[in-house]
């Protein structure tokens, strides 16, 4: 079934702290060698989607650098991937919702001959076959399909979109920004909808001041009985990076073999920018234990229970514990790091001690020397 894809690269920026100071949430580094957008873009590429629009609002330079001509994802910028920046500067200020953002995609949506549109954020990381989701959507006969995950709602954490289904899979309750109890599914911010229907919604709702997809469209229309909603219950691992804390925890979750094997599947590979780094060199006394280590590193010190991105150097006698070290970080000799996130290209001087807590990891901004 012919479908096109729309990716929102800026959603949740405000919740991610300084991680999104100079980048979109789509270009947040993750898992040693990836950016968040790699997951959804690879999923779309692997699912045979050959018409993808990436909606950007601001700070998208790093995203464009990362994607370059999209060849590393088996796609071609300009041919089947398009950047959709805002029309004018009139939309600056606080970020407003996806519905409003979709206005910039109107020409692309109008020109396309795809029957369906897959809408996705970049913040929920998983390996998913969108072709299967579209098939399920068509089979359901519903207006909208929401991809959702059971087991995340716990009565404490706010779910952007929470759904309750009965035994037959029918949606019996739907709520937005809700501290949902355990028996609710959490929306993964991935939707399938008929292209013509989506066009109508944008053209009807946005001029009436409605700009949030979930709050201004899904919720009211479901409540009024105007929108039939189908839930595609995703069975594999999905990592929700909706806050800095979750980002930290989810990086460390990759140390679990089941999580890794669910996220990195040979039939649904996750592509990323090729950097041509050299393999990682372990020195005579370099030691990594329970670590994810990308290539291009020099490990002469010790790391435990950590995620080490590409081209990180650990000098002699360093002790790195429960930390996330992004690309190009350098840790000087004898330094000790516990519960720390180093953004890209951070330099830690020799004999430095940095310590956060498991609940509040210490975050060091990009390019800083400490």
């Amino acid at each position: 079934m012919e479908a096109m894809g729309i990716i929102f690269s800026n959603i949740y920026d405000s919740k991610m702290g300084n991680l999104t100071w100079e980048r979109t949430s789509g270009s947040i580094p993750f898992g040693g060698r990836y950016r968040q957008i790699d997951f959804v873009l690879s999923n779309m590429s692997n699912s045979g989607i050959r018409n993808i629009g990436i909606i950007t609002k601001y700070n998208y330079q790093s995203l464009m650098d990362h994607l370059a001509n999209c060849e590393d994802w088996d796609l071609h910028l300009g041919e089947n991937v398009r950047f959709l920046p805002p029309y004018a500067t009139g939309h600056t200020g606080a970020y407003r919702g996806k519905l409003e953002a979709l206005q910039t995609a109107l020409p692309v949506l109008e020109r396309s001959d795809a029957e369906y549109v897959i809408l996705s954020d970049t913040t929920v990381l998983c390996a998913i076959d969108f072709a299967e989701v579209v098939d399920a959507h068509v089979a359901s006969g519903c207006d909208l399909t929401v991809v959702a995950k059971a087991g995340r709602a716990d009565g404490r954490r706010t779910q952007t979109l929470a759904l309750k289904v009965d035994d037959s899979g029918k949606v019996v309750d739907l709520a937005v920004d809700y501290c949902a109890p355990k028996d609710y599914l959490s929306g993964m911010s991935m939707f399938v909808i008929e292209r013509k229907k989506l066009l109508n919604i944008i053209q009807e709702l946005v001029p009436h001041g409605k700009c949030y997809f979930e709050r201004d469209f899904v919720l009211p229309q479901y409540n009024e009985g105007k929108l039939s909603v189908n839930v595609y219950s995703f069975q594999n691992i999905a990592l929700f990076n909706e806050s800095l804390q979750e980002f930290y925890e989810n990086n460390l979750k990759l140390l679990d073999q089941d999580v890794r094997h669910s996220l990195f599947r040979t039939n649904l590979p996750i592509y990323t920018k090729v950097r041509d780094s050299v393999p990682t060199l372990f020195g005579e006394h370099g030691q990594a234990s329970d670590c994810l280590v990308a290539d291009g590193c020099h490990i002469f010190g010790n790391a435990n229970h950590s995620v080490i991105f590409r081209e990180v150097d650990l000098d002699e006698d360093t002790q790195v514990e429960s930390s996330v070290l992004m690309q190009g970080s350098k840790v000087g000799a004898r330094s000790q790091l516990r519960y720390v996130i180093l953004d890209k290209n951070v330099t830690v001087k020799p004999d430095t001690r940095l310590q956060g807590t498991p609940e509040h990891p210490l975050y060091i901004s990009k390019g800083v020397t400490v």
Partner: protein, 394 residues
């Protein structure tokens, strides 16, 4: 079709059967043999070309071209996917009158005169596909042009006692070559040819045609073309190269070159310098997982590995798994190898896709100063508890 004139086109001789690499080249052309964790041998000359701003490369191959062809593809990983030039694999093909294999290195170029002529280059760079090194061909080309040389040959200084194993260039003070001796018993100098030549295309074309017309010729650059140029009074120059260079045509030299990557100050610094990156077709694999039970010393680990065992002074390539209690010492593990729990691998080369079952023992320690490398060929399965002797080729 005729393109705009090029300053230099590179022709990479990748045709050798590589029989001295034995099982490693059973189903693989020598240039496609994996090296250094994530590379293949051919990545080195190809990346050197790109880093030297040479954008047109022909690869001459006739053994097992399928895998090489697949690996090179459209040349995108090396940035050689331009429509005006780029990289092309050139196997021998049937012509209307006769069809023949490449008879020798010179004949391989002769059969592709048509390819080179399309670019009408000033110069042609001849490269070999089984050397590991980083070299700026642009500097050599500059030297070649400044000397108004007809043929410039890259040479490196070798120890006098080893000189009789190489082709030796005897030169005058200005670097011009007056004599070439193939493996001389009593070498007069220590300038060993690296098998890297830059020819003026007009001169090379003329000599290739003459060589082809001579039925007694072996159609070889070293044996025929270079001596013919010398005896006819052409200008030949030696170009000194003093960086790392290794011919990896044998099991032991391939093993040594891999080991040269290890250590804080490695013999071959594959990282630097800036602008001399080695490009490769990258596998789509996540970062490597190093488990609590793992131990690593002086080793190279590429992406996509899961390491639970002990690795010492070894190269572990993309996508390998090393189980708990397994040990890998002084060895080269090529891509996608599975080494199960408790297996022991010492002084060995394990080719792509092998499965070494639990408790198997491959190779052994250096004995009486002699290191005997064990080799396991591509996609072999070594069953549980098997013992493979040092130096055995499977």
């Amino acid at each position: 079709m005729q393109f705009q004139k090029k300053r230099c086109v590179a022709m990479l001789l990748a045709g050798g059967q590589g029989s001295r690499l034995m099982v490693l080249t059973e189903n693989t052309a020598k240039p496609a043999v994996p090296f250094g964790g994530k590379y293949r041998i051919i990545d080195f000359p190809l990346s050197n070309c790109v880093n030297s701003k040479i954008d047109t490369v022909g690869i001459l191959t006739q053994y097992q071209p399928l895998e090489l062809n697949e690996y090179i593809g459209n040349g995108q990983p090396w940035g050689l996917n331009s429509s005006h030039g780029g990289v092309q694999v050139l196997p021998p093909y049937a012509k209307s009158k006769n069809s023949e294999w490449y008879k020798g290195t010179a004949n391989a170029i002769y059969q592709n005169i048509g390819f080179i002529q399309r670019y009408n280059p000033d110069n042609v760079l001849i490269l070999s596909g089984d050397h590991i090194y980083k070299m700026d061909y642009a500097a050599m080309l500059k030297f070649h042009e400044s000397m108004d040389s007809d043929c410039t040959i890259a040479v490196r200084d070798v120890p006098l006692k080893e000189a009789s194993r190489f082709g030796i260039m005897n030169t005058r003070e200005d670097g011009s070559i007056y004599e070439f001796e193939e493996k001389p018993k009593v070498p007069k100098s220590t300038n060993a040819s690296m098998g890297i030549y830059i020819f003026k295309w007009s001169v090379l074309k003329e000599f290739l045609e003459a060589d082809e017309a001579d039925p007694t010729s072996e159609n070889d650059f070293g044996k025929n073309i270079i001596p013919a140029l010398l005896s006819s009074g052409h200008r030949l120059f030696a170009y000194q190269f003093d960086g790392y260079w290794k011919d990896v045509g044998t099991i032991s030299s391939l093993w040594e070159a891999n080991m040269d990557l290890l250590g804080k100050h490695p013999a071959f610094d594959i990282y630097g310098p800036e602008g001399h990156k080695i490009y490769a077709r990258n596998a789509t694999k996540p970062a490597s997982y190093i488990a609590k039970s793992a131990e690593l010393h002086e080793s190279f680990v590429a992406d996509g590995c899961e390491i639970y065992g002990m690795i010492e002074h070894s190269v572990i390539s993309t996508g390998c798994t090393v189980g708990k209690g397994a040990e890998v010492i002084d060895s080269v593990i090529m891509p996608d190898v599975v080494i199960e729990n408790g297996a022991s691998i010492r002084n060995a080369i394990i080719a792509e896709g092998c499965v070494i079952r639990a408790g198997a023992k491959i190779g052994g320690d250096v004995e009486n100063g002699e290191r005997r490398i064990s080799v396991i060929g591509k996609e072999k399965e070594i069953s549980e508890g098997t013992v493979i002797e040092p130096g055995a080729i499977v």
